[in-house]
């Protein structure tokens, strides 16, 4: 018996539609979130992640509605991120049908938010999304904000450690250097994060070809997240799982 490595399609959502761009720019429409969620569920996705990249106050109702509709039709775990600023926001999402939430900017602005959410709902609901890039910091990686456009002035590995000590249950490590390039995951960054993390790590950013997924897992990822390669049909989840099985990794068939 072995815990399966998870394959997680990520749906970036704006205005109730799935969108995709390179390095968070040049967004194009990639479909209806509920329909795509259903399709990925049927294809064997192990979890789904929605990131509300508009994350404006006005759009919270749209997001909740989308989560509700998805959770009613897709019976695999659902993580929702974007615009979460309080434990009450988390409560709304969980009640709408989310199983986990991911936080990013709001936790950087006020790290105590991690404790507040974790104390109330447990660490298993909370994913710390870290948009990191290579930089001249202690570990060689720094945290960015605004979709990778600005430095947050924090060392990425130090932030991961702080997040875990405050109560996050999982790390979503997104390489802002690799995101959208389809040139493979940042393996060095994954190895470095694995060395300091006592919670599961989801690798994100850079998936392009089949072998990239196994490389990320070998570097220490417990799950692998990808968006455009799935949305635009370059790869299917089933292709990825077959490749991983062939390489000897435990997967859910």
């Amino acid at each position: 018996m072995t815990l399966a490595k998870r394959i997680i399609p990520c749906l970036d959502v704006a205005g109730g539609r799935v969108v995709k761009g390179v390095n968070f720019k040049d967004l194009v429409d990639a479909g209806d979130p509920v329909e795509l969620a259903k399709k990925y569920g049927l294809e064997g996705a192990d979890e789904l992640t929605f990131l509300d990249i508009s994350a404006s106050v006005e759009e919270r109702a749209t997001t909740l509605d989308m989560v509700r509709k998805t959770a009613e039709q897709v019976f695999i775990p659902l993580t929702v991120g974007g615009g979460i600023r309080s434990a009450e926001n988390v409560n709304e999402l969980l009640r709408a049908g989310a199983d986990k939430v991911s936080i990013n900017t709001a936790a950087i602005a006020r790290p105590q938010l991690i404790n507040e959410i974790s104390d109330r709902f447990g660490n298993q609901v909370l994913v710390l999304s870290v948009d990191a890039r290579r930089a001249d910091t202690k570990s060689g990686f720094e945290v960015t904000t605004h979709g990778g456009h600005q430095s947050a002035g924090i060392d990425a590995l130090a932030w991961i450690e702080e997040g875990i000590s405050r109560g996050v249950g999982e790390i979503l490590l997104n390489s802002m250097d690799a995101d959208g390039t389809k040139a493979g995951f940042d393996i060095e960054m994954l190895r470095a994060a694995r060395a300091v993390s006592s919670v599961p790590i989801i690798a994100s950013g850079g998936a392009g070809k089949l072998s990239d997924f196994g490389d990320a897992i070998s570097a220490g990822a417990d799950a692998v997240l990808a968006a455009s390669v799935f949305h635009f049909g370059d790869l299917t989840i089933s292709d990825v799982k077959k490749e991983l099985a062939k390489a000897g990794f435990p997967i859910r068939a």
Partner: protein, 198 residues
């Protein structure tokens, strides 16, 4: 009718929809009368044990469960909803559970926690709950679990760092540490097995 106990914990909507695939009448409620008299009562649960117990007590959940036990009416505990059925848990602090299942809930000894994701289980022969899905994977997300087999019950185990109890079937009490409502087709089959047994 199947009642899903609403005590402010758990992904109630997903649970409701998943049970609706197997039964035409599923309600989310904490009305004591409905909960005590429903054909089946589902006790969900997400979060820390002590917080869940507080909330459960707050809606009279202990009394509801005791009333069903007295009449031997089916109960299905899920995740922390399974854990609260045990005698106690030592998550954060020692805390009493409902005590329907004998044993205590303890931290899993594994290098990486939470135990998060899809894992196999080992179901004993004769399990009605796992009929047809003995070799499937189910979705777990937890750091604590019961580790001692419940006496006079069918115990299904899982291994992550060490062996722990993934599911219990004892007469009218059924419980799973994993989330059947989040376990895709395998979970749906398991839920329909339980509904068929009511």
């Amino acid at each position: 009718m199947i009642a899903i106990l609403d005590y402010g914990s758990g992904n109630l909507r997903s649970a409701q929809r998943a049970f609706e695939l197997a039964h035409s009448q599923v309600v989310v409620t904490n009305d004591p009368k409905i909960c005590e008299e429903a054909q089946g009562l589902v006790v969900p649960g997400v979060g820390a044990f002590a917080a869940c117990m507080d909330q459960l007590i707050g809606v009279g959940g202990r009394e509801i469960i005791a009333a069903r036990v007295a009449k031997e009416r089916p109960i299905f505990g899920i995740c922390v909803g399974m854990q609260v059925l045990f005698d106690s848990s030592n998550e954060k602090k020692n805390c009493d559970g409902v005590g329907v299942l004998q044993g205590e809930v303890d931290l899993i000894n594994a290098p990486l926690l939470p135990h998060m994701g899809w894992n196999n289980v080992s179901a004993p022969s004769g399990s009605k709950l796992f009929q047809g899905v003995e070799d499937e994977m189910f979705y777990f997300v937890h750091s604590y679990a019961a580790k001692t087999k419940v006496p006079n019950a069918l115990n299904t185990t899982c291994e992550y760092g060490e062996e722990f109890i993934a599911a219990v079937e004892r007469d009218y009490v059924v419980a799973t540490q994993f989330h059947p409502e989040k376990s895709g087709d395998a979970g749906a089959k398991l839920i329909s097995n339980w509904v068929a047994s009511l």
